[in-house]
């Protein structure tokens, strides 16, 4: 996953699971089949915007920290 700068497997899994749960990642992957890299970057940007983080499209430490905070289980982006 080139979107992950440091390539930490655990971080990849954290971000993937988070985007799957709250940003509809898996459904859109199946429906439109765009490049996984692009889709993840787009979802990460969406998430960073909502949380007022620097919008990089990358799973930087700030983003991962926000992902690990206690939260509501309702998705942030959902049809």
């Amino acid at each position: 996953f080139p979107v992950f700068q440091d390539g930490q497997r655990q971080d990849v899994e954290t971000a993937w699971k988070y985007l799957e749960n709250y940003y509809n990642l898996n459904k859109e992957t199946a429906a439109s089949d765009p490049s996984v890299k692009e889709l993840m970057a787009r979802k990460l940007k969406q998430m960073q915007q909502i949380f007022g983080l620097k919008v990089t499209g990358k799973s930087d430490p700030e983003t991962l920290r926000a992902m690990r905070k206690p939260r509501c289980g309702v998705p942030d982006a959902t049809p």
């Binding site: 749960n21 709250y22 915007q49 909502i50 949380f51 007022g52 926000a66 690990r68 905070k69 206690p70 939260r71 509501c72 289980g73 309702v74 942030d76 959902t78 049809p79």
Partner: protein, 368 residues
């Protein structure tokens, strides 16, 4: 406003609710009171009313579940995912599920049931998450203080769905500060390890050389034990502490910890007379290690090394700091200047010449 796709909303205004079970961490009475209070938050700003039913299914059912509970949204044990709710509709629509594995509280300790219930009921009524970090509907858990005020963003969004409350006195909510708002004033300002931090309500605005834009966040993210609406703050850099003031109490902070033994009263810690019950502004001059406290139209001087008040004080602000007025709201030191703030104006006071040499708007620090 961002409202759930297709704007689902309740078409009737008299809604019922039922509580199916309880958490072992709180008494039944506390759970019931927390949930009733949560409903009141929403009924106070809309025409909606909520009444509890006992022997039938309410429009909104509230329950505690552990792990997989057959709604395709399994809980995950302690922490992380705390609760979820369903948009307005029949059967499961509007229902609220709390994770039974969380340690639910009725205090500022994690996780406050009233706060989470109020958030989830926002979903039950048709709201999505908000990107306003001060809003109740922000996705992360952000409860750090005992005083709860609904954010104006939440009020605007729920009233876009249901209209305002018929009550002649319309409640207003707290608003999240916007750094570039020219009317913005501050509760307190201090330097903090080379950065400058501005405080307003429950929020801080952080300015650092390496940040292109100021960072806005909740004070509680850094220091969960600090109250909001601070009066004053200053950095005692010689001991790497920042001290925060509210009323007659002071908190000392080093990095991300409030030091043990705090808060204490300012009379016993600094030696103020009992007539001094608050501090408007404070700043510590780095080279002299003298701290100035501004109270109404007077200022006091404290010696950080000797840990005692200097004799001969208080003095008039207008005499010691000519040009800054009779009263100040905030002050901090940077590069040989004291920056005084009064309402939306800042005064740059040169510590060498003892004169004000620039007067500007207060938000010039935010690259607006």
């Amino acid at each position: 406003y961002a409202i759930t796709y297709d704007n689902p909303r309740w078409t009737k205004t008299n809604l019922t609710y039922s509580i199916l079970n309880y958490t072992p961490y709180l008494s039944r009475a506390v759970v019931e009171e927390s949930i009733e209070k949560a409903f009141q938050v929403w009924s106070s700003v809309t025409p909606l009313t909520f009444s509890r039913v006992y022997d039938e299914e309410g429009d909104i059912e509230l329950a505690f579940y552990r792990g997989d509970h057959d709604d395709n949204n399994p809980f995950d044990g302690p922490n992380y995912s705390l609760a979820h709710a369903f948009q307005p509709g029949p059967r499961i629509g509007g229902d609220v599920h709390f994770d039974l594995d969380e340690r639910w509280t009725d205090t500022s300790e994690n996780f406050n049931l009233f706060y989470v219930a109020t958030h989830e009921l926002g979903h039950s009524l048709g709201l999505t998450h908000s990107s306003d970090i001060g809003a109740l509907m922000f996705p992360s858990y952000t409860w750090y203080t005992d005083d709860f005020v609904l954010n104006q963003d939440d009020i605007n969004r729920i009233q876009a769905l249901y209209g305002p409350s018929p009550n002649p006195v319309q409640p207003t909510g707290a608003t999240t500060p916007q750094p570039c708002d020219s009317d913005l004033t501050f509760d307190a300002i201090t330097t903090f390890r080379g950065e400058v931090m501005f405080f307003k309500g429950r929020f801080y605005i952080r300015v650092a050389r390496f940040l292109p834009e100021p960072e806005l966040n909740l004070i509680g993210i850094l220091w969960p034990n600090l109250p909001g609406k601070l009066d004053a703050a200053y950095e005692a850099s010689i001991i790497d502490e920042v001290r925060f003031f509210k009323g007659n109490r002071v908190w000392a902070v080093r990095t991300q910890s409030v030091l043990r033994g705090f808060p204490v009263d300012i009379q016993s810690f600094f030696g103020f007379p009992s007539s001094v019950t608050h501090i408007d502004a404070a700043v510590s001059e780095e080279y002299s290690e003298k701290t100035y406290f501004f109270v109404d139209d007077m200022y006091w001087r404290y010696d950080e090394r000797r840990r005692s008040m200097d004799p001969g004080y208080p003095k008039l602000i207008s005499e010691g700091f000519p040009g800054v007025g009779n009263k100040v709201d905030d002050v901090f030191e940077k590069n040989g200047y004291f920056y005084f703030f009064r309402e939306t104006t800042q005064y740059r006071f040169n510590l060498q010449t003892k004169r004000v040499d620039a007067i500007r708007d207060s938000n010039t620090w935010f690259n607006c």
